[in-house]
């Protein structure tokens, strides 16, 4: 998850560094674009599968994945209007925003991964029979992914 996002950040920062003079720097410019492409496309299935694996039970999984995709597509609206015409050929707004998105998404992914690892560690410390005595099955199902028996997928 973090590696593709890292590639996006690297790619866009190279392009911004070229400051619009693409004719002279075709090689690095193109290389940077390809890096960003390599970074962008794996992120979508990765995020979707992460969402689906870390929600329980199946009702919440369905709602969660639909919600995820809805909010995610709002990014498409932003993306279509990012590159303003009057800023050719530098496009600082467009590339800058893309870089910012890549960076913050990277931070978000790292935070999530750490929180999942922490959650898993906390659950390993608990003993299963104790947990079953404390809560009934109904309550465990209600708690969904906060239940002590649920294991987060990294």
């Amino acid at each position: 998850m973090a590696i593709p996002l890292l590639l996006i950040v690297i790619g866009y920062s190279i392009i911004l560094g070229l400051k619009g003079d693409l004719q002279a720097h075709i090689g690095p410019g193109f290389f940077a674009i390809i890096l960003t492409c390599i970074g962008i496309y794996p992120t979508h299935p990765g995020t979707t599968s992460w969402t689906m694996n870390n929600l329980a039970p199946s009702n919440r999984r369905a709602i969660g994945s639909a919600f995820n995709i809805c909010v995610g597509n709002i990014g498409g609206i932003i993306g279509s209007y990012m590159y303003l015409d009057d800023e050719a050929p530098n496009y600082p707004t467009g590339f800058g925003l893309s870089l910012a998105f890549g960076g913050t998404a990277l931070i978000a992914a790292l935070v999530l991964e750490l929180s999942f690892m922490w959650g898993n560690k906390r659950r390993e410390a608990m003993d299963e029979t104790e947990v079953r005595e404390k809560y009934t099955d109904e309550q465990l199902l209600e708690m969904g992914d906060k239940s002590p028996l649920f294991k987060y997928t990294l």
Partner: protein, 221 residues
């Protein structure tokens, strides 16, 4: 069945990628209907493609079945039983019918989960970058004045990555011994193709020919 799952998902995603390839051609064809019935060409594109989508959407409601028992013709009894057991285990030990319908509590539980928002944010960033890239890519491509280079930009290299990754990798993943090989193949070929393209862009015709052969293995013309 799980051993076919990756292949099926790959086929699904390949169709979506192929639709991107065909959409340009289809739009060019429909655009020739300019003036028919008083509508411009671009309106016809929306009308026809939208109509097909809506009809298929409605049909989905009737054609997609709700549970493995109703599948009837294409699954054997053993496979139906296997799928039911799988659902039983994944739902945490309860049959789906026994549980009550989606309640507001479920929805609020999802919406109040801070992790959901972070995950949705990652997807937001990714789609913003992706749409922005497809907007800016033609500008970058046509800023290259070398006519050879412009010709090769028409088939963006990253689509190749996607096709390659999905079409080859997922069936390979179903056969465990071959998994590593396909990963390696794509790790090697991806950068090689990109490098060749970068050279082609600078007018190196030998690199351009190599690239053409890699992209289109069958003879052209």
């Amino acid at each position: 069945m799980p051993r076919d799952l990756a292949t099926r998902i790959a086929v699904f995603y390949c169709f979506s990628a192929l639709s991107g390839a065909f959409s340009g051609l289809l739009a060019a064809g429909i655009a020739k209907m300019d003036g028919v019935g008083g509508y411009e060409g671009w309106r016809w594109i929306f009308l026809l493609e939208g109509l097909v989508t809506v009809v298929l959407g409605v049909l989905c409601f009737f054609l997609l079945i709700d549970s493995p028992q109703l599948s009837g013709k294409w699954l054997t009894q053993d496979e139906i039983r296997y799928l039911e057991l799988q659902h039983f285990i994944k739902d945490g030990g309860e049959f789906k019918d026994e549980r009550k319908k989606t309640s507001w509590k479920d929805i609020s539980a999802v919406l109040s989960n801070w992790k959901m928002y972070l995950l949705a944010y990652i997807l937001l960033c990714q789609s913003a970058c992706s749409y922005g890239l497809s907007a800016i890519y033609p500008t970058i491509a046509f800023s290259l004045t070398n006519p050879n280079a412009q010709r090769y930009q028409i088939y963006p290299p990253y689509l190749d990555e996607r096709h390659g990754l999905q079409g080859h990798q997922c069936p390979a993943h179903d056969r465990p011994a071959v998994r590593g090989r396909s990963h390696l193949r794509h790790l090697l070929f991806g950068p090689v193709r990109s490098l060749l393209l970068a050279h082609a862009v600078r007018g190196d015709s030998a690199a351009a020919d190599c690239n053409r052969i890699l992209h289109h293995p069958r003879p052209q013309g």
